[in-house]
Amino acid sequence: MSSLAIQSLDSLEQRFRADAVEAPVKPPESMQWVGTCLSIAGVPLLIGEGELEVIIETPNVMAIPGTKPWVLGVGSHMGGLIPIISGDVFFRKRPYSGRVRDYCMVLRRPGFYFGITLSGLERDMKFPVEMRDMQTPVDPDFAEYTLGGFADQTRFLAVLDIDKLITDDDLSNAAANDPDSREETSND
């Protein structure tokens, strides 16, 4: 009697297995990289979330004598003065005489608070983190300040690493008559 009951239970289990539907598999949530797409010196770039202080219209600047060519001058912002740097001159290492840059981005780090002019401004963009490409070559002038990038349709958007930019020796010393500066050495 007991063996018959056990056989019945086994057959019932097999039938249940045959008729059972598998539980739906929840796709793993992929982590998104969020940042702002903008252009400096004609090169489309991405700046990560939280690294930008603000984007402002380029203020009227007052030139500062004795500084390097990429320093446009100081302009007013939020009731104070901040130095405005020409992104075209700083990255391309040559004078710029093209269209006036209407916007600039303001960066704030410990010891640094300045603005860099932008050649274009698009919008905030999201990319899956695993899609980050560290192999695609970037414009040589920006290569030492970028850290990989993402493919957007037919173009490649390099991620501008603000920390690398801040630690650059050239950016940290804006004095034109400094004998240790790279430009003075190259002029010699």
């Binding site: 979330e49 930008l52 202080e53 984007i55 402002i56 916007y103 401004l121 919008r123 905030d124």
Partner: protein, 699 residues
């Protein structure tokens, strides 16, 4: 007299040459006899050498046969050595001394070894006999001793006794082998002999002990009758050997010497055979060598042979020279006769050949007489030929003149005919040109009307295009305005984008409280993306529209320019048509002048045709006269040609044979061709005149 002397000298020379050849053949025959004699002695030496070789081989074989220990082999060896010595002594030729000394040098070791063998023959024969007896008796003795052992075992004899009894057969076996080794004469022959002596002593002691008992070595006496009998039989069989033990032991040195002698003979047999073999070619060259060495070969064979050959060649050369001399004279006469048969009477036959001199003299006289006769005929004939040649030249000149006149008449007739035909064609052409000129005038008038219509239409097109151009400019201004508006919208989009980005930044700074603003910023960013795409599309399409408008404007401007150019062309066409009209009037005047000139030319051509008819009548009369003169000259020249051909077959002096004038046949041909040409041209003239009649009728 000279001929008879020459003949006797030739006979004497032939006789002497024959005697010389016979003498040389006699010398050669004597040489053969001498060589035959020498070759007989050479055959004897050769037989001796072959016998020596045979004996040397037999000595080697007999020396090896002495191993068997038979006395006969030693005897044969001694005899063969003696025969070899005697045969070698019979080879007594000074030329063979070298070869014989080599043979003797190789023979002496063999001879000494053979003597050693012969000296050792008695001992070798004895030892061989003992060895054969021992070999024969070993098995029976071993059987007897085995039976003794069996008896002793049955009697339970002591072990020493049994060992001694069992050792006896083994000692017999070793003695047999020792004798064989001593007989072989090897390096251990002395050792084998000593071993044999020792084994024989042991065997005697064992047999003695078994027979009588020996307490010293522990052998007990055999007491059984069968054992005693077996021991007795064994000792009896061994008795032959027992008496020879000392002699066998002392014979080892001789046996060893004998073995060395055999080896020496075997080693020296090969060089001895080679030395004997080298005798054969020396003997074979003995007789020839003598001849060579003494220079007899030159005297006996080569000199007589060369002399006979030289004499034979001298006889052949003399006979050949006589034949050539006679053939040369006959060929000379034949050549002269062949030249005379061809008509050449200037040749002379050579009279210096003694065989053909008479024939040559007769031939020369006959040819001289014939030359004289031909020379007498030729003088008046040449004068007649000159006269006929002058008549022929005159006839030829008349023929040439007639030919030129006929050619001129024909050409003039053809020219007149062509002139009449050309005048007709010119008249037809002027009529057609007049018609064409009238048609051109009408066409020019129509073209003038068409240019007026085209000018009016072009002016209308220009006005229409100018109106369209104004409309296109207005469109361009509107497109420019739309482009400015689109760019303004793009700038606004950028500002909105800045607001959205800053909103997101501020919302992030506000943390949890700024989350609603974050959603608003993302919504604005999404709307902005769509607005940017549409704005970009609008700007792109507006720019395309702007480009198309610019292209249309440029095209219309080109059209206006083209219309202006067409109007200029129409003006030029108008002036050109007026010039064509004036040119057509001038051409009509020229055509009328040409028509009158063609009529005058036709009249002149008719006049020329009548003149040609008169010239034709005169030419017919001249042709008849030429025909008569031609017949006479032709007949006379044919006769002269026949006579000249007959005379030309003879050559009577150094110059070439007389030739009749070759031009005679050609002249006759020319005259006949001229007559035929005259007849042909007359028919052509008639044709030309007939066509001229037709032309005149048409005019």
């Amino acid at each position: 007299m000279i001929k008879s002397d020459k003949f006797s000298a030739a006979k004497m020379r032939t006789l002497l040459l024959g005697l010389g050849i016979v003498a040389c053949l006699g010398g050669v025959a004597y040489s053969f006899f001498a060589i035959q004699k020498e070759s007989g002695q050479e055959g004897q030496y050769s037989a001796e050498a072959e016998e020596l070789a045979r004996l040397a081989r037999q000595v080697a074989v007999s020396a090896q046969d002495t191993r068997k220990g038979q006395e006969q082999a030693f005897t044969q060896l001694a005899e063969q050595v003696q025969q070899f010595e005697s045969r070698l002594a019979q080879l007594d030729a000074a030329e063979l001394n070298d070869e014989i000394s080599i043979v003797d040098l190789n023979w002496q070791p063999i001879k000494r070894a053979a003597q050693t063998l012969v000296d050792a023959a008695p001992r070798v024969v004895f030892v061989q006999g003992v060895a054969a007896e021992l070999e024969k008796n070993v098995r029976p003795m071993q059987r007897e001793l085995s039976s003794v052992v069996t008896v002793l075992q049955r009697q339970r004899a002591s072990s020493e006794t049994l060992i001694a009894a069992q050792k006896a057969p083994w000692l017999l076996e070793r003695m047999a082998r020792s004798v064989d080794r001593a007989l072989a004469g090897g390096s251990d022959s002395q050792l084998a002999a000593d071993e044999f002596s020792s084994d024989a002593a042991d065997f005697f002691r064992i047999i003695e002990g078994l027979t009588r008992g020996d307490e010293l070595i522990g052998i007990s006496k055999v007491t059984s009758t069968s054992g005693i009998e077996a021991l007795s039989n064994a000792f009896r069989l061994f008795s032959g050997v027992s008496t020879s033990v000392d002699r066998i032991a002392s014979a080892s040195n001789d046996l060893r010497q004998a073995a060395l002698a055999r080896e020496t003979i075997a080693q020296n047999s090969v060089p001895l055979n080679d030395a004997i073999a080298s005798l054969q070619p020396a003997i074979a060259s003995l007789a020839v060598g003598r001849l060579y060495d003494a220079g007899n070969l030159l005297v006996l064979f080569i000199a007589p042979g060369l002399l006979a050959l030289g004499l034979l060649i001298a006889m052949m050369v003399g006979q050949r020279r006589r034949d050539l001399y006679t053939a040369r004279g006959v060929a000379d006469v034949n050549g002269v006769l062949e030249q005379i048969s061809k008509g050449d009477l200037t040749v002379t036959a050579a009279e210096d050949n003694s065989v053909t001199s008479d024939i040559a003299q007769g031939l020369n006289k006959a040819t001289q007489r014939q030359c004289q006769l031909i020379r007498e005929i030729r003088t008046p004939f040449e004068a007649a030929v000159d006269e006929i040649d002058s008549i022929g030249a005159s006839a030829q000149a008349q023929v040439e003149k007639g030919r030129e006149l006929t050619r001129s008449v024909v050409e003039s007739t053809e020219t007149a005919t062509e002139m009449v035909r050309t005048s007709e064609e010119i008249k037809q052409s002027t009529a057609e040109a007049s018609d064409t000129s009238d048609r051109n005038c009408k066409t020019v008038a129509q073209g003038y009307e068409l240019t007026k219509d085209m000018s009016k239409a072009s002016a209308d097109v220009r006005e229409s295009v100018q109106e369209t151009s104004k409309t296109a400019k207005r469109q361009g201004e509107l497109i420019q305005s739309v482009t400015a508006a689109a760019e303004y919208i793009q700038a606004l989009n950028t500002k909105i984008s800045v607001v959205a980005i800053n909103t997101r930044i501020e919302a992030e700074k506000a943390g949890e409280y700024g989350r609603p603003f974050l959603g608003i910023a993302e919504s604005i960013a999404d709307l902005l993306r769509e607005a940017e795409e549409e704005g970009r599309k609008i700007i792109s399409e507006v720019r395309m529209l702007q480009n198309m408008s610019a292209d249309n404007l440029a095209s219309m401007e080109n059209t206006v320019g083209t219309v202006v150019t067409i109007l200029e062309y129409i003006d030029r066409l108008d002036s050109s048509l007026e010039e064509i009209n004036a040119g057509s009037d001038a051409i009509s005047e020229i055509i009328r002048n040409v028509d009158e000139a063609a009529g005058q030319s036709a009249v002149n051509a008719l006049h020329m045709s009548s003149s040609m008819a008169e010239i034709r009548e005169r030419n017919l009369e001249i042709s008849e006269l030429n025909e008569t003169a031609q017949k006479g000259v032709n007949s006379l020249q044919r006769s002269m040609r026949d006579a000249a051909q007959n005379l030309g077959q003879f050559r009577i002096d150094g110059d070439s044979a007389y030739q009749s004038p070759a031009a005679t046949e050609e002249d006759v041909g020319d005259l006949e061709s001229i007559r035929a040409a005259t007849q042909v041209y007359r028919e052509e003239e008639m044709t030309a005149l007939e066509s001229a009649e037709k032309t005149r009728a048409s005019l």
